[in-house]
């Protein structure tokens, strides 16, 4: 089976590079083809990278608390760019202050994110989810089901 391609990056005016490197390493070790666009990445850079590389997943990190503003509209832009069905995951310190995680999770899911991870999540958890989500897509495709909604 061909390698699954992922686009990885840190969104917005965020320069946290260490977690990005760790995720790059962990995901590559787990057998994914990682296209790492690094820090200070704009929404357009995520989408352009996904278009050229035919990526199946966009993994967005945000560590500096402005994630909600930076991520707003990403799904809509993907739809405009013709890759509306792509999986989008997000994780990090997405919001500031002590907010109820369930509420944060719901807000990001409403924005079109498929998986939302709270601070302190280990890479393995996301890797397991990726494998599960991608396997489900592969089998849907092989049954002729096309992309999932």
């Amino acid at each position: 089976m061909a390698m699954h391609t992922l686009v990885l990056g840190v969104i917005g005016a965020d320069v946290h590079a260490v977690g990005n490197r760790i995720l790059d390493y962990a995901l590559t070790q787990a057998g994914f083809k990682v296209v790492n666009i690094g820090v200070l990445a704009t929404q357009e850079e995520f989408i352009n990278a996904a278009l050229e590389t035919d990526a199946e997943v966009i993994l967005v990190s945000s560590l500096y608390g402005h994630g909600e503003i930076d991520c707003r509209g990403l799904r809509e832009k993907c739809i405009e760019a013709g890759i509306g069905g792509i999986l989008i995951y997000v994780g990090g310190n997405l919001v500031v202050g002590k907010q109820d995680w369930g509420e944060v999770d719901r807000r990001f899911r409403d924005m079109g994110f498929d998986r939302v991870y709270p601070p302190g999540t280990l890479p393995d958890e996301a890797i397991d989810d990726l494998k599960r989500d991608l396997a489900r897509r592969d089998s849907a495709k092989s049954r002729g089901g096309g992309t999932l909604p």
């Binding site: 391609t5 005016a13 820090v39 050229e52 590389t53 990526a55």
Partner: protein, 473 residues
């Protein structure tokens, strides 16, 4: 005497360079290009201009090495196609420019029937088709190949996209086009550019096919194959001058600026990595040997568009450069007249002054567009600096070429417009380079000679570029 004969069929002048390979000396001559009638007429008069009593035919026959480049009859006209504008489209554009092409247009995403009609009307000599990283997107380049198979005529195509489908793409194109060339992807991985193989492929097509269609075939009977477009020869000479050859050292990072009547070309050789600490490089990396062409900046055909691009204020500011001579010149009138008289050669001091103003403005704008930029990004942790494109601040050598600069007595003052401007510090132009002038028009010729004898080409280039001293600035 071991002579090499190097010929540049330019759009206006045919320039010949005869090199004595032992004494390492050069004689040059030029005559108007005669592409409309018989290209060899202009060549003959240029060769006769070399003098010394020998017949032009004798000069050709006695040369141990003959080579030619051309930008006559519109140069190498190309269209570049990719997927995303900032990624494979840009990489394809860089590849074509470095091959010495004139870019007619670039196309992103899926081509439409309207796009095909438009490309056809632009009459490209070669189409460069890219799109997708290796193993990446394949649908768009396949779609574009199918669309190009509906092209109303035949045109050579260079395929430099996703390796995985390159064979399929070529097979689709071959249904219509007889000259389809597969080469390496211009962007094998995201944000990695690989322009050299595509440049080579373009050059092979140029040598094999393009020259015939341009009335240059007769010239080939005399001088052998026309091996590359002129800008590619200049880029080759610039690269050799920068990196050196074996034990003969080069001059390090450098820029070559060619101000012409229709365009201003800028070449830079160097990695252009950030020179300041803490600056982050973003965006597509640029080629080590990078060429840009500004089609709206020139001193004759493009005089009107230069005026528009620069604006009156900037032109007036540069007019001050010329000191007292400039007073009383109405640049708007003069420039609109020059745009009509494209073969005008300056005669009076005032003519030269207005040419100098326009050339200075062209140098200023063309280098601004060529050089990278640094921008401040404010993050919650303070300011961060992000660089796009090449940092040329450390560039050590600046070479001016082209008839406009050569005719000027104060070329250094014009070239100084390529320098870093403290009033515009986000543009990473050279800070403290040495200035040189290609007074004898040898650069293209030395790019040709570099294919045969790089060491001599380098030594001659170093010997014949005239240093412009500080006192002349």
């Amino acid at each position: 005497m071991n002579t090499a004969l190097l010929i540049d069929f330019g759009s206006t002048f045919t320039k010949v360079t005869a090199v004595d390979l032992e004494a390492k000396t050069v004689r040059t001559s030029q005559a108007p290009t005669t592409v409309a009638t018989d290209i060899t007429e202009g060549l003959q008069s240029a060769l006769s201009g070399l003098g010394e009593g020998s017949s032009w035919r004798g000069l050709i026959e006695n040369a141990v090495y003959r080579s030619a480049c051309s930008s006559a009859a519109g140069g190498l006209r190309m269209v570049a196609i990719g997927l995303v504008r900032d990624l494979t489209v840009e990489a394809a554009r860089q590849a074509a420019l470095g091959a010495g092409a004139r870019i007619l247009d670039v196309y992103a995403h899926e081509l439409t029937a309207g796009d095909i009609a438009r490309i056809y009307s632009q009459r490209p000599d070669i189409i460069l088709l890219a799109g997708g990283t290796d193993g990446g997107n394949r649908e768009v380049i396949l779609h574009n190949a199918r669309m190009l198979a509906t092209y109303p005529g035949k045109v050579p195509v260079v395929v430099a996209g996703n390796r995985v489908v390159a064979g399929d793409v070529a097979a689709i194109l071959a249904r219509k086009h007889s000259d389809v060339n597969i080469t390496e992807n211009v962007m094998p991985e995201l944000n990695q550019i690989n322009v050299e193989p595509a440049r080579e492929a373009i050059r092979r097509v140029f040598m094999a096919r393009i020259v015939e269609g341009k009335g240059l075939a007769r010239a080939q009977d005399l001088v052998g194959t026309i091996v590359m477009p002129t800008p590619a020869a200049v880029l080759k000479a610039a690269r050799l001058l920068s990196v050196g050859w074996e034990n003969e050292a080069g001059l390090g990072d450098l820029m070559v600026i060619d101000v012409g009547g229709a365009t201003t070309d800028v070449h830079s050789i160097g990695k252009g990595e950030p020179t300041m600490a803490g600056v982050m490089l973003k965006g597509l990396p640029e080629p080590f040997a990078k060429r840009t062409v500004e089609g709206d900046l020139g001193v004759r055909v493009s005089a009107a568009s230069l005026w528009e691009a620069a604006g009156e204020r900037r032109i007036r500011k540069n007019l001050d450069l010329m000191g007292t001579v400039g007073i009383g010149i109405s640049p708007a009138d003069r420039i609109s007249k020059l745009a009509e008289r494209t073969d005008f050669l300056p005669e009076t001091e005032e003519d030269l002054a207005i040419d100098a103003v326009m050339a200075a403005t062209a140098v200023e704008l063309a280098t601004e567009r060529h050089a990278g930029t640094v921008e401040v990004v404010y993050t919650p942790f303070g300011a961060t600096y992000v660089q796009h494109g090449k940092d040329l601040t450390g560039c050590r050598t600046l070479v001016g070429t082209g008839g406009v600069l050569v005719r000027q007595t104060e070329a250094a003052r014009i070239l100084a417009k390529a320098l870093f401007d403290t009033g515009n510090p986000t543009v990473l132009k050279p800070k403290n380079p040495e200035f040189y002038l290609d007074r004898d028009y040898i650069l293209a010729g030395m790019g040709l000679l570099a294919e045969h004898d790089p060491l001599t080409a380098l030594q001659i280039t170093k010997k014949y570029l005239k240093p412009l001293r500080e006192g002349e600035i």
